[in-house]
């Protein structure tokens, strides 16, 4: 059995962590980077670039570079969220089967779980490199406010990437789990999570051995990306004023401006004003390239950001009221997500809770660390002789016919040639589950560097012979100078009393950092053939001085030069910046909740709540349905998730069909339908005919997500065509 890792699959950045020797630690790539930008670029060579190299291609190849689509996963093509997004990105969206959303890159359509799968494959490769062994299981985090379809789609992404998904975990809950490793007494905490694309507020009661989520709420369409866009709008207006040219008229130019806006925004977290050189966005009326220098102040940014942040505060206030508490009753407020680095966000949160937020967690990495802790706790399984009961989506997959509506494998000009009998990498075996996947042998193109050794006799191949394939074309190496960062210059007006936050966890640097010696092999090292050896990370618990502080309930050493073990400089630095956490002996029990009410349609377009929002999971609710007309053999039940009593105002999950009923007078047939939310917050349905006590078929026709076998097979095939770098 391989390692189990925690993955924070973020809108902007993805972070990987694992528990090694009782310490949860963020894993670094070959260049020592801990944040993997969640950007996927389809290189003309057929290779899929993920991370910083892909992020740079947002500027030169914007139409084939997909970013920030995570909040749209599991959303229907005709949903408001996708409609609004369609015009905002330089790449194209297209409609897939069953109203699902796909993106176009180099004339091939990819479902959104596939895009996430590319990121996850890279994350998995990073972890395998850092841990020196195969990784086949993961806890993947999602925004707390994700609905059933978004969770199910994320799970599919994990499977496509060759990972067994141990749990879909809510991001704020993961953060709380990581934070709670070091607390001594019971605390009520609030986690305010403002990420690149989504916002969540989660309220928890942490007792010694049970971490109970009291309530959660949020907005999956509100985050730092929106601010980047608004700031780019603001910058566009300056350009119009000076050159009478609107960069928004060209998606490519606007994409560049958005990229610059993001850099400006980040720098305004620590500076009061930033000067930005702007170029490459178009031409003047005279045909000269536009170049200009613009000064943007924090005050301007705050003015733009204020309505967004106020919305988050309103959501937070409301969720606190729902559980009958007052904001100041919380013992701690934890800030999570890169966007909380904005001083405005911290200030408004402080005002709401009447206390300064807890700054001793690394807002970028704490979620991945919590996911790693949960992965470690759930990975003690003996391998699970039997699979879980099939979810609604699985049931659908089974009941669907095999005819794919145009979902068959499409010819791909970028396909890499693979011998038909090439072996399958160990990790990829996991996706070969009976419900969905019949893994194409072509998946062998997915190799990792170095190839994961398989010390466990249960894993499949011990050594992966390199499949014969076309030599990959040269890839752009990460540039030492960031493409745009070099052009920008700051007028550093120093701020007094720079917040601690600015030091904890540096912002992602575009250039590589020197490789760390003890955590990672040098980038060019030959594949490690030392099978069965201990993980390459060797992390001892911190020295006594530091250990004492941790045990004393102080999460971070107040000063980085604590007396520690001199042989562990990297480990100590990792603790100091919040990239490592000592874990408790026994993980506490996490009782999480479902963020949204589960509803069925009733009379006149209304809906009834079956499972209320903030109900702990797993949970279930049974309800009896009757036939409405004589000799009726089929009953349809429409299911949605959301908080509106009007059925149509909620997110439609699908339609449940109860068939094979006994034809008789109306009202005579009683069907007991049980709706179950599992620990991932994913719905499954079963039905029983109450008279005959026999199970009735209950197939859920899922809307807006590609979950049946033929579609998933096509996704697997498309994954296999691309190497990830």
């Amino acid at each position: 059995m391989g390692h189990a890792i925690g993955i924070d699959l973020g809108t902007t950045n993805t972070v990987v962590a694992a528990v090694v020797d009782g310490v949860a630690i963020t894993l670094e790539d070959e260049h020592g980077r801990r944040l993997l930008p969640s950007v996927v670029s389809f290189h003309p060579s057929g290779t899929v670039l993920v991370g910083d190299s892909a992020r740079e291609r947002r500027l030169i190849d914007p139409e084939s570079t997909i970013f920030s689509v995570k909040p749209l996963i599991g959303r229907a093509f005709d949903s408001d969220e996708v409609k609004a997004a369609r015009g905002r990105f330089p790449f194209q969206f297209t409609e897939g089967a069953k109203n699902s959303t796909m993106v176009l890159a180099r004339d091939v359509a990819y479902a959104l779980p596939e895009i996430s799968a590319f990121v996850l494959r890279r994350a998995k490769a990073i972890a395998e490199h850092a841990l020196g062994g195969p990784v086949d299981r993961a806890v993947i985090t999602v925004p707390a406010n994700f609905n059933d379809l978004q969770r199910a789609s994320t799970k599919i992404a994990g499977k496509l990437a060759g990972l067994e998904v141990l749990r879909i975990l809510n991001e704020p809950t993961a953060a709380a789990l990581a934070y709670g490793q070091s607390i001594a007494q019971a605390e009520k905490i609030a986690v305010y999570d403002l990420g690149g694309g989504t916002f969540d507020i989660t309220l928890l009661d942490l007792t010694g051995n049970v971490f109970e989520v009291l309530a959660t709420a949020g907005d999956t369409a509100l985050g730092g990306d929106d601010l980047d866009r608004l700031l780019a709008d603001h910058m566009s207006i300056e350009v119009i004023k000076r050159f009478n040219y609107d960069p928004r008229s060209s998606p490519v130019a606007f994409a560049r401006l958005r990229f610059m806006a993001e850099e400006v925004k980040k720098r305004l977290s620590t500076q009061l004003e930033v000067e930005q050189d702007i170029s490459g966005i178009g031409y003047t009326e005279g045909g000269m390239p536009i170049t200009m220098r613009m000064t943007i102040t924090r005050e301007e940014l705050d003015r733009i950001a204020l309505p967004l942040i106020e919305r988050t505060v309103a959501v937070a206030r409301q969720s606190i009221e729902i559980i009958g508490m007052k904001p100041k009753e919380f013992d701690r407020v934890i800030l999570v997500g890169g966007s909380t680095r904005m001083p405005l966000a911290a200030r408004l949160v402080e005002k709401l809770f009447e206390q300064a937020p807890h700054l001793k967690v690394n807002p970028d990495e704490v979620v991945a660390l919590g996911a790693a802790i949960q992965a470690h706790a759930l990975n003690r399984s003996k391998g699970g002789a039997k699979r879980k009961a099939p979810s609604a989506h699985d049931q659908l997959a089974k009941t669907q016919g095999s005819a794919p509506p145009g979902a068959g494998p499409q010819p791909n000009p970028h396909a890499v040639n693979v011998p038909p009998n090439a072996p399958v990498p160990a990790g990829m075996q996991q996706i070969n589950t009976p419900q969905y996947f019949e893994l194409s042998k072509a998946a062998a193109v997915i190799t990792f560097s170095p190839p994961p050794p398989a010390p466990d006799p249960w894993s499949v191949p011990a050594v992966l012979p390199a499949p014969a394939r076309r030599a990959p074309p040269p890839l752009p190496q990460p540039q030492s100078a960031p493409a745009l960062g070099a052009a920008s210059r700051s007028s550093a007006r120093p701020i007094e009393g720079t917040p601690v936050r600015a030091e904890l966890g540096q912002p992602p640097s575009s250039g590589p950092k020197p490789a760390r010696r003890s955590l990672n092999a040098p980038p060019n090292e030959a594949p490690d053939l030392d099978f069965g050896s201990a993980p390459r990370i060797s992390l001892e618990p911190p020295g006594t001085g530091l250990g004492a502080i941790v045990a004393g309930g102080d999460f971070f050493p107040s000063s980085p030069d604590q007396p520690g073990n001199a042989n562990q400089p990297v480990a100590e630095a990792a603790f100091a910046r919040g990239s490592a956490i000592e874990t408790a002996d026994r993980a506490p029990l996490l009782i999480d909740v479902t963020p949204l009410s589960l509803r069925v349609e009733t009379v006149g377009g209304y809906s009834d709540v079956l499972i209320a929002a903030n109900s702990p999971v797993p949970c279930e609710k049974a309800r009896t349905f009757l036939t409405a007309s004589d000799n009726q053999t089929v009953v349809f039940i429409r299911v949605a998730q959301g908080e509106s009593s009007r059925f149509a105002e909620n997110t439609r999950l699908g339609e449940l069909e109860l068939s094979g009923l006994k034809p008789t007078t109306r009202g005579q047939v009683k069907i007991l339908v049980t709706f179950e939310l599992d620990a991932d917050g994913i719905l499954s349905v079963r039905a029983k005919d109450k008279d005959t006590n026999r199970e009735t078929t209950a197939a859920m026709r899922v809307m807006g997500a590609s979950t049946d076998k033929a579609e998933v097979d096509a996704m697997v095939a498309r994954q296999a065509r691309h190497e990830v770098a």
Binding site: E212, I591, P618, T627
Partner: protein
């Protein structure tokens, strides 16, 4: 190693218990006591506590945990707890609730059909149909109060139409009004 049978028997025993008995708390338990009881029982029944056991054990334990969640979901919220207590007293006639089973706070009406006929279809004469059609329109716009008035008018022109009456009752419950 725990046996799945233990949990199957436990889950079955919960079928006839009221929510207080399920959580093993007194009728006058404080919110803190209820939470403590839920936590203690969760540690023994949450499926995540059985990752080292065969899958069947975790599933059997989960069937108990889900009933705990159901009980906790009602007892931890004071307004629901009050309603539940009232229902328990009604069903037993005692001062303290005794046996009682499931409580579906969201089920407006137990009897509900899911292939809806419009009110226009339900009304049996032209005059009633005229009001019923208006009510359908109001309902589709979410104007419950306006719809209620129209259904009452329809019912006055079509007395004894049980299905129409039933729809009116559903609407009253949606509006949280007591029918006259």
């Amino acid at each position: 190693m725990a046996s799945p049978i233990t949990f199957v028997v436990w889950a079955e025993s919960l079928e006839t218990m009221n929510y207080y008995d399920i959580l093993r708390v007194a009728f006058d338990a404080s919110p803190a006591e209820i939470q403590k009881a839920f936590h203690d029982l969760s540690l023994n029944t949450h499926p995540d506590r059985f990752v080292e056991e065969p899958v069947e054990v975790g599933e059997a334990a989960a069937s108990v945990f889900k009933r705990l969640v159901e009980a906790y979901g009602v007892l931890r919220r004071p307004p629901l707890r009050t309603r539940y207590d009232a229902e328990l007293r009604k069903s037993t006639g005692a001062a303290e609730p005794a046996a009682g089973s499931r409580f579906d706070e969201h089920a407006v009406v137990a009897k509900k059909t899911f292939e809806q006929r419009t009110l226009h279809m339900i009304a049996r004469n032209p005059k009633a149909k005229q009001y019923a059609a208006k009510a359908d329109l109001f309902l589709s716009n979410g104007q419950l109060e306006e719809a209620r008035i129209q259904i009452i008018s329809a019912y006055q022109h079509d007395p004894g139409n049980e299905e129409l009456k039933e729809r009116l009752d559903i609407l009253y419950e949606a509006l949280a009004l007591e029918p006259p």
